[in-house]
Symmetry: D2
Subunit: 313 residues, 4 copies
């Protein structure tokens, strides 16, 4: 895969993404999200060969929101192992919205998967007994190769003031005996993780680390174990886009996790990470420009999971 | 209806009720309920002619639990009128368990009815801005003709320590914009009301007041308006026994509200109130002796709603 | 209750009903219903003293539709007894729409109640092994005191051509082992019963028979057993208006069953039957004029179930 | 990947699979399945280099059951294109059982995906206007490289005699306007496709064709278009194992489709197809030996989708 091909694909993806933006809307449940500029759009590609391609508002900081679920899952799997973690949260796509309570309450004693709110709050409950938010910030900076990551305090405050539904989910988990720590502590850590400010570049780098089996290619430091990286990529593929995961997987064939602030984290295994920022989201809470952007990049660079490869990277 | 007939019906009902007790079990989610004597059984009838019939443990104090939902609904209807109240909570039987979240979350923007937890917490949210718990105790004492009613502090503390599911419901209501007051305040008032200690006698008297159109027959004081009494009796009939309401209505034809501590409040319109205490409950959380007891009394005294009357009281 | 009062109440109810009609719409799923005149309105009262009051289009024939569920339930209870019948179909209001499959499939092995489609098809399955449609027509004519009742063949044909959802329900029942007879035979009998043509007068007379404990007051012939009449009236009260049953019970206090063609069958126990015809229905499939009409009659004649009676009939 | 490694992996997988068999049970809803020998176990690998590895009962014929959903989807996508097909059936994992009606009825106007019964019946409805069952048999023989495939008439008859639930699903689809053809015709074709008799070898060959981009490597004949193969493999990965798809994807990283008769079709992209036959199934209707067998093969041959490759095939 040569530079020119990637640059061309990025430029075309920008155009396709911009066209889609008017159909979406920024999240409005807190002012810090509502006041974002809907027309911002940035894309960054970070290859395992340490090349970085970037375009548009790739350097704009925004709160990571639900993409933090991937980071927390990595940490929980590292700390507790898959057996413990998946005893409390499943690995199944749910077919339901990100903040559904129904599926949780109806027949099941554990959240469907760690990519929806109920599952991620469960994971936060595991973490918050063992690790501080400061340590989680450090970990996030490390896996994103971005020392500038901070907690956005205004967003955090607004989220905590507007988290009745997540609090309902957390207490429902508590009532089912699934919360490993204090409910309010767990909810706080979950919300704190959502408040970390990243850029499309940070996400591309994190994606690249996952694509590279958890190893930082620049210094060969292993940041995430091989087993964890593999598990997380699979779950991103089947569950990363909420109840739009299946269609997104068919279209792009790229494991991706979205956040309501408009971020996308994508992993092209053994090749690259891709980060997107575009705050206009669709009805499911996924960045609306993501489909044409990643659909186009996938097609042009022939990086769909089940793409027959004629050429190598 | 003569004395002898009532006394005989009560005695037979006691025997039938006792037989059923072994099939039930006391609620165990808090120690204050778990340690109750499963074999206690008391029944009291208070007629609108001011006759009182009592048998067994009619004088044993127990926490009123969900029967307080009727009292809170009366007060809310008095304070705010039906239009306001029923804008936030429905009047439909739900076919679901008392503590269901599913029905609330799925398609509906208001709880099905005020006799299930979600509806009663909504009502508590209306009340707690306007009236103190002390005033609610006073009101309860008045309508139950029982000055001995107090809040059972140990039970209250245990309930507050074990109310994760109700808290989940309350925050879900908040997230839907249905809570009129602070969530924690509302939940506290709801739980406080559940902690009031009554006897089968208190419940019989309250039932008698409802049967008598809301008027205390001894002094002709109106305690509940006629419209409110009529509405509350209808809702007790259709929704008072959770997802067992329909069958109970067919069997007994007597509007009844149950509580998980084993109490039953029954209203035989224009005739009498009936109070029952028997802490062994069935899977739906209804006093298990209630069916044979009220079924028998209904049949023997010919007081099913749709009973053809040959004789008058 | 004197004549003048009843006549006045009927006249006022007509006016109130007419006002509501524009808010409803006629059912359109088959042409035979779609082409009905939306503005028709008729009311009939038949008292147990054999007085008949009628106004408007009381004599217009229309297909009985879901009101036939009451007749089939009566017959099934007479033939098989309550234990058998209620082993296969419940007595609980469902909180769901009349044609819901969800409640049936989710957790339950029997339909909620015999007033919704799944329950009524189950009842038809019981009946169709034991009794022919011709015998059911005879029975319907008898309890409605109306020899003019016939099957409307065009409607029947249209219904059979458009019953995919009911057929789905019937096969779902079959798959759960609840259908007592051949699925198609059962579905046919269910649909045939819906095709019987009645008038507001027929329904008033049937209601009067139920109000009079199942006995025809003119010749003292018992048409329905006392137990069956009582059970059916209770189920009409809790389940007769689908997921609007609770509110209707609070408002009117009169057991009522609706049909999608705009009919209403109401029973004022020990006093009268009321029949209404008005083909404009609301979202739940209930005659939209029914609420103001029966609400007004209930209030003016003081016949709410829990109405305190100052005067006697 | 050398021969010895593959053979060793297969032999070990056989042992692991046999250990799991006692925990499963053969499907019993029709005698033709109930009477199968629970202890049969066969595995076949067919590589894109035309090597075939086989072990155990690889040559035993069994009815293909739900694996036919993949074949029908291929054909429908070839005939009608993805836009048409996915207008009527989604691509989302459902989190529900294979034969769920709830998800279909609740909020959604199309089946979640073509790998569950409702979706596959929808696909059959598209096909049966355009193509005969005989032509579908021919197509199946072609893509499975197996001329011995026939319809098992006894199984077909039994299935048709016991398909009340599928018929319910089909009529529910009809009622929602989703069936493109006559309901009974569609249901017949769906059931006929389930009755095709295959072997583990047939499935391995079909999987190899999908792995090889739809092309028969022996004669370079394209049997399935590249786009269709890619789409189908993605959907197999996210939806192929019903509500166990997510966990299976994490464990094995191999797109797989199961059938209730105990077959598994697996595709290792660009490398091989794997067929398994073992009629003991788990609660979700998936071959119970499949997890350890494919888990082991995936691990030993390093063919998890997100496995970091040190060596090449």
């Amino acid at each position: 895969m040569n530079n020119r091909k990637i640059i061309k694909a990025l430029q075309e993806a920008m155009i396709l993404g911009k066209k889609e933006i008017p159909k979406g809307r920024v999240a409005t449940y807190i002012p810090e999200l509502a006041y974002r500029d809907k027309n911002k759009l940035g894309i960054c590609i970070h290859t395992v060969n340490s090349e970085v391609y970037r375009i548009g508002d790739f350097n704009e900081r925004f709160t990571i929101q639900s993409i933090s679920k991937v980071i927390s899952l990595c940490k929980a799997l590292e700390l507790f192992g898959p057996e413990y973690v998946f005893n409390y949260v499943g690995m199944e796509p749910s077919g339901e919205a990100y903040n559904s309570l129904v599926e949780l309450d109806l027949n099941h004693n554990r959240p469907y998967n760690p990519m929806i709110n109920s599952g991620a709050i469960t994971v936060a409950g595991m973490l918050c007994n063992e690790i501080s938010f400061d340590e989680m910030i450090d970990y996030t900076r490390k896996v994103c190769l971005d020392k500038g990551i901070e907690s956005d305090r205004l967003t955090l405050q607004s989220e905590m003031d507007n988290c009745a539904r997540n609090r309902a989910i957390a207490y429902l988990l508590e009532s089912k005996g699934i919360m490993a720590s204090d409910v309010e502590d767990s909810l706080l850590l979950y919300t704190q993780m959502c408040s970390l400010s990243v850029t499309a570049k940070s996400l591309a780098s994190f994606g690249m680390i996952l694509a590279n089996d958890g190893v930082n290619p620049q210094n060969n430091e292993r940041l995430i174990s091989s087993d964890v990286a593999r598990t997380v990529k699979t779950i991103m593929l089947t569950c990363g886009m909420y109840d739009g995961s299946g269609e997104f997987a068919v279209l792009t064939g790229i494991p991706t996790k979205s956040g309501v602030s408009g971020g996308l984290l994508s992993v092209v295994d053994m090749k690259m990470g891709i980060g997107v920022y575009s705050p206009a989201v669709d009805d499911k809470g996924n960045c609306i420009a993501g489909r044409p952007i990643l659909g186009h990049i996938s097609k042009e660079l022939k990086i769909h999971l089940f793409q027959q490869q004629e050429t190598d990277l």
